[in-house]
């Protein structure tokens, strides 16, 4: 995707020059490998700082809400779907945005990569054509297939091309079909467990959580002015590392994202201790698909299913 950058800069400069947007939201080069910094450019000089490669794995839709300005935003498939969710939920107006669509080839999993490296990674290079990623550091240099080190959500992605955009920076990439990948294989594995094993699985999953709330804050859906865990009057959840409180936070947060989550993976990517929070959200995604035939963020015309009532909503669970 590094080949996109010239086009990205060209479009961004044009938009700023024509006064179509006040800023362009993208990334600038990070100071450590695998991490770029969300960034806004207001001038041509700042546009020259923009980068795009496989280390842009947060969700830029998180940076455009509650603004009065006109914004140009770089958007991959999942980012564009979250922009659509924001438009539906009234967090940003379509007219404010100029969406610069990025056909996405998948992001690198920083947790996986650092676990695979024998020592801290000092640099990372990608050979897009060969699909290889080379990491190096003190005393090592390893070349890996990008498919091995991609974020899991990217390997399962069915919407790599933006679903809404004003212009694209390159030709669309081929989409994966459900015949090629099963986005819910892991959910099914958990579903097959006994209640005890499920409970133990999530206990173990959350055992490292330090409640820094990076997952919540990196999530474009979590825009509540006051999260339920932060409320003190009434206080719903305790604030220590008590496992019940930790689990309550994670599962209720996931539930608040039901039918809205696009599996962008920002929660997992931002987690400092590498918890796969998607074990919660993927289940909801699967249910929305099966019960309502719904995938989040594909339209700006319709509100998500848990936000609306229809007489024919499934209700088998009500006895």
């Amino acid at each position: 995707m590094e080949s996109y950058i010239d086009k990205i800069k060209e479009i961004s400069k044009r938009l700023l020059e024509e006064g179509k947007v006040d800023m362009v939201v993208g990334y600038r080069r990070g100071s450590v490998p695998t991490m770029h910094q969300p960034f806004f450019a207001r001038s041509k000089a700042e546009v020259d700082e923009l980068v795009w490669d496989s280390n842009c794995g947060l969700n830029l839709a998180n940076y455009i809400t509650d603004s009065q300005e006109n914004i140009g935003i770089l958007a991959t498939g999942c980012n564009s779907r979250n922009i659509a969710v924001h438009i539906v939920e009234g967090k940003v107006k379509r007219e404010q945005l100029h969406i610069i669509g990025i056909p996405c080839k998948g992001m690198i999993d920083r947790h996986k990569l650092s676990a695979m490296a024998p020592a801290p990674i000092a640099s990372i290079e990608e050979d897009e054509e060969k699909g290889k990623v080379t990491i190096s550091g003190e005393g090592f240099s390893d070349t890996l297939n990008k498919t091995e080190v991609m974020q899991e959500n990217c390997t399962l992605c069915l919407h790599r091309n933006p679903v809404i955009y004003d212009e694209l920076v390159a030709q669309e990439v081929a989409e994966q079909s459900k015949d090629e990948v099963d986005p819910h294989a892991r959910v099914k594995e958990i579903e097959a467990m006994s209640p005890e094993d499920k409970w133990a699985h999530f206990d173990d999953l959350l055992s490292d959580c330090i409640r820094c709330y990076a997952c919540r804050n990196a999530c474009p859906l979590c825009y509540c002015p006051l999260c339920f865990v932060d409320e003190s009057h009434p206080q719903w959840v305790g604030k220590s590392l008590d496992p019940t409180d930790v689990r309550t936070f994670h599962f209720l947060r996931a539930y608040h994202c039901a039918g809205r989550c696009t599996d962008c993976g920002a929660c997992v990517r931002s987690c400092p201790v590498g918890i796969n929070v998607r074990d919660f959200t993927k289940k909801l995604e699967k249910d929305c698909m099966e019960l309502f035939g719904w995938e989040a963020g594909l339209t700006t015309e319709q509100r998500p299913p848990l936000d609306t009532y229809k007489p024919d909503d499934p209700e088998e669970f009500i006895k």
Binding site: V32, M35, P38, L58, L241, P272, V273
Partner: protein
């Protein structure tokens, strides 16, 4: 200070012996990274580790800690009268394999918990009952900048013992009385051969030369507090990127802020101290709803101003950072304290620009 030699073949047995008199804490690999954990019987610390993901400050200052308790049962004598919980354990413990940067953090934090007017009994008792057996650092990470942050890969100023890895053995500097006592309890008493000190010095120089990044701090005290506060050029971009999570503050060895919460369990009430973070809006929100640090920029600025200016001015003790690099490598949006420190250090209020903008 004397230097002893501990053959690695004697290490495990020594650690075992320590269990008689110390509770042991050391680095262990859990899932895919290291943490500091209580070492259970037979468990040996993994001394081949690089560093723990989260700083071991929790060995002294746990993320959640009961500080007071009382009964909510009207028939009890202590009904609604808070007191210290009886089962606090301050028997002596030893932290094995702590990195020098992390040990140095305790000295920086002490000024907060040990003041002329008030002493925090929990932090102080935990600190005083602990012996720190450090492990000098020969393979620093690309994000490390300890040498310019007042610490270093061989900084021994806050250790009781410092181990230097020499492949089949450790050379151990016995620095304090506490360290002497621990070495004795472990049965590590072999004097090192002549030239051990020189060997340590050589390793020190090698290790220090491997630290590639640095921060400039020499102008921080001279800079005007309000100029830095108002320097939009420093704060605007990081504030945009920041998602206001608590990763940096929780991973940091020198962040000390906390919250106090009451929790009720049955007929008992507990006053619990939890780590808190200046990144969170509710950290400073008044009951009225007014928030003096209401914007993301306010909060990002607070963290760095606290570490690199307020602390510098208030305690004249350098910066509140040991250069461990955890916040740099863990920040989900790549906010880099090295770059920010260099900007603050080189800020020119006349032109509102910074001469140095990166690490």
């Amino acid at each position: 200070m004397r230097v002893i030699r501990i053959d690695k073949s004697d290490w495990d047995a020594g650690v075992e012996k320590l269990r008689d008199t110390y509770r042991l804490i050391g680095p262990v690999k859990e899932k895919f990274y290291h943490t500091f954990a209580a070492l259970e019987a037979g468990q040996i610390p993994d001394m081949e580790y690089v560093n723990s993901r989260i700083s071991p400050k929790y060995a002294i200052y746990p993320q959640s800690e009961i500080i007071l308790s009382c009964s909510l049962n009207e028939d009890d004598e202590d009904y609604k009268i808070y007191h210290e919980p009886e089962d606090k354990n301050y028997e002596q413990k030893a932290v094995l394999g702590i990195r020098p940067c992390d040990a140095d953090s305790f000295e920086l934090v002490r000024v907060n918990f040990d003041t002329e007017e008030y002493k925090d009994p929990y932090w102080l008792r935990a600190y005083e009952s602990t012996t720190f057996v450090g492990l000098a650092c020969d393979s620093p990470c690309p994000t490390c900048f300890c040498t310019s942050a007042g610490s270093g890969p061989y900084s021994d100023k806050n250790l009781d013992i410092m181990l230097v890895d020499k492949q089949d053995h450790y050379l151990a500097e016995i620095i304090t009385e506490k360290g002497e006592k621990l070495a004795k309890a472990a049965g590590w008493q072999t004097e090192a051969e002549e030239g051990a000190t020189d060997a340590i010095d050589k390793s020190r120089a090698d290790a220090e030369s491997k630290i590639k990044s640095s921060v400039g701090t020499e102008n921080l005290a001279k800079q005007s507090l309000l100029d830095l506060y108002e320097a939009t050029v420093i704060w605007e971009k990081p504030a945009f990127a920041c998602i206001n999570c608590g990763t940096c503050t929780y991973a940091c060895p020198t962040c000390w802020c906390f919250d106090i919460q009451d929790e009720v369990h049955g007929k008992e009430s507990f006053r619990i101290r939890n780590w808190d973070s200046c990144m969170y809006p509710i950290f400073t929100t008044h009951a009225s709803g007014h928030n003096p640090r209401g914007t993301k920029l306010d909060r990002v600025r607070q963290r760095f101003m606290h570490k690199l200016k307020y602390y510098v001015d208030k305690y004249e003790n350098g910066i509140q950072c040991t250069g461990c690099g955890r916040c740099v490598s863990l920040c989900p949006v790549n906010i880099d304290i090295r770059g920010i420190c260099n900007m603050m250090n080189s800020y020119d209020p006349e032109s509102c620009t910074c001469e140095v903008t990166a690490s």
